[in-house]
Subunit: 341 residues, 2 copies
DNA sequence: TTGTAAGCGTTATCAG
DNA sequence: CTGATAACGCTTACAA
């Protein structure tokens, strides 16, 4: 068995440079508190040994990890990718590392992940959406862990949030659809339970319908997890009705893409036979044909601002005020006027 | 300023349960070495305090982190998502946590990430592809860090690999295209430098062409990063030629999706005016229309097997043998026969 | 400017 | 089966 050469430590560097470990530590963390000469000596020892500080030891001693944890519902589809990427870039910029885990939309898994991330020394946490057991907020509060919510802005939430008004965004889209003359509207929504974004989007549609004076009672809604396949299945189901809808509003672009595929498979023309809309404006929206009318969400801006705010909260022990971002409707050919009666 | 209640420690639990810290530790890690009675007492103290072990301290003391690090080129598109998801699930199953970081296809960033993950105590590493500075392999070897390569199988690589034969896979696809009668073929490849998967795929195409007796010299290749936009741009460029290609083989589905979109924008019919193929068989391939002929890669199986093998390497200090997985061509309507002369 | 030394919260070795 | 106690590698007062 070959001898296992383990990693060089601060001590090794100190010995090689002929200084104390404290000095080496200073060279690495606060170089300006060390004179040029010794700094150089230390640096060459570091290089010679290929020294890398042991993270665990550093965290223990400093009680800071310069790590931010984020828990997102899923990595499988691209809903969170762009925003998270921007979040990560901004964090990196500020000297922080991002630790991501995904909860598969399961509350208990999310809770476990929160504990895990905290145990790992995360200085702050990014969570998606507001709907979760209040005990989690108590826990975070008691432990004084800075946490921020993204992808959904609410003014009076327990934790500050950086995001947009899901309800209003979908309300506007639905209004637009109605204004084109659609009267038979159906919805393919994500699972609403435990997901305020999904819930609020449906509410936005309801608002628009009752506003318009239409019968909101018979609004057909299919709830299904955010996966392409499910969008296809749901579309199928909705089109089985005796009187088919003329427009289907989907909870996000992923579901909409599934619906579009199914429409094509069934030989239905979009938008002539049925209009379909999405939400998010991820790349997918421009890949399906026809391209998807959807709600544009400023993912990168949201990620960046969330990072800035969270770092601020961590470093200044402040509470964070949250920020509401604007969305806008993106008109593309998947939405048209309804066919004549 | 409210008093900051910091996390309960082993000591707190020990005191509350009236035992030593050693006993508490044993209750948590090797419960069978503790009698029922004390174990119960300890457990209730743990619950009462909401104790979670401090990860950094545990790593320092145990010199094991039950953490596996993975460095992937990008999270932005879905190329690695499915495989990584399976990798993660299998790791979780075995009691390990996955730490992911992305290198943006930059070798120096990857190197930094490797060091970072090791400093963070990763017990093992998953890397994508074989092409990298040999010094990295020396470093890994010297530090005795178990590492495994995925997404590309090579029999005699320095590190064991779990993946497929990129060259052969693309060779077969190209052969198939040629057998349909295509004689003017062009390629939209990913950046080849530092990316053996991209390089080998192009070589596979070259092989097929020279095999077929065609002039391989004038094979038009555009190299561009794996992004949808770039696929579109590259397609544009290739179609500017006086004699247009009748088939365009793309380095992956993302580039192919971009090419398809551009074709549509230019009013070209796929496959009647030009055939387009992809590689990977990610969801995207079935979303574009017409659906994409591509090479199916068993991403989930690859991820799962990589996890199994890496855990085995970590736990038994073994070297790992690697495994080659099979790919298969998936025929869909984006590929047809060339138009008559 | 630099060195000394006391933790940080676990695990693991040895006694008991 | 359980309890002391010595690491683990680093940061940070406090001294010099």
């Amino acid at each position: 068995m070959a001898k296992l050469r383990s990693a060089p430590t601060l001590d090794d560097v100190a010995k090689m440079a002929g200084v104390s470990t404290a000095t080496v530590s200073r060279c690495l963390n606060t170089p300006d508190r060390v004179v040029e000469a010794t700094r150089k000596r230390v640096q060459s020892a570091v290089d010679a040994l290929g020294y890398t500080p042991n993270f665990a030891a550093r965290v223990m001693a400093a009680k800071r990890s310069f790590t931010i944890g984020a828990i997102i519902p899923t990595m499988e589809n691209a809903i969170f990718a762009r925003g998270l990427q921007a979040f990560q870039e901004e964090l990196h910029h500020r000297g922080y590392t991002l630790l991501v885990s995904s909860s598969a939309y399961k509350p208990d898994i999310e809770e476990e992940q929160i504990r895990t991330l905290i145990a790992r020394g995360a200085d702050g946490l990014l969570l998606i959406g507001h709907d979760r057991d209040p005990k989690i907020y108590d826990y975070l509060n008691q432990r004084k862990i800075p946490a921020l919510i993204a992808w959904s802005y609410l003014p009076d939430s327990r934790l500050p949030s950086v995001g947009f008004d899901n309800r209003k965004a979908m309300f506007e889209l639905a209004n637009h659809v109605l204004s084109l003359g659609h009267e038979r509207i159906a919805v393919i929504s994500g699972i609403v339970e435990g997901n305020d974004r999904a819930r609020l989007r449906v509410e936005g549609i309801r608002d628009a319908i009752s506003h318009s004076g239409l019968e909101s009672g018979d609004l057909k809604i299919v709830e299904t997890p955010y996966e392409i396949e499910n969008g296809a299945t749901a579309f199928c189901e909705l089109m089985k009705a005796e009187t088919r809808p003329t427009a289907i509003l989907c909870g996000n672009d992923v579901l909409a893409a599934g619906a579009m595929r199914q429409a094509q498979e069934m030989g239905l023309d979009v938008p002539d036979d049925v209009s379909i809309t999405g939400f998010d404006d991820i790349e997918l929206a421009r890949i399906v044909s026809p391209e998807l009318t959807t709600v544009h969400v400023p993912h990168r801006e949201m990620g960046r601002k969330a990072a800035l705010q969270l770092v601020e909260m961590v470093e200044n022990q402040t509470d964070g005020e949250g920020e509401q971002l604007a969305t806008r409707i993106v008109n593309r050919p998947s939405l048209g006027r309804p066919a004549q009666g």
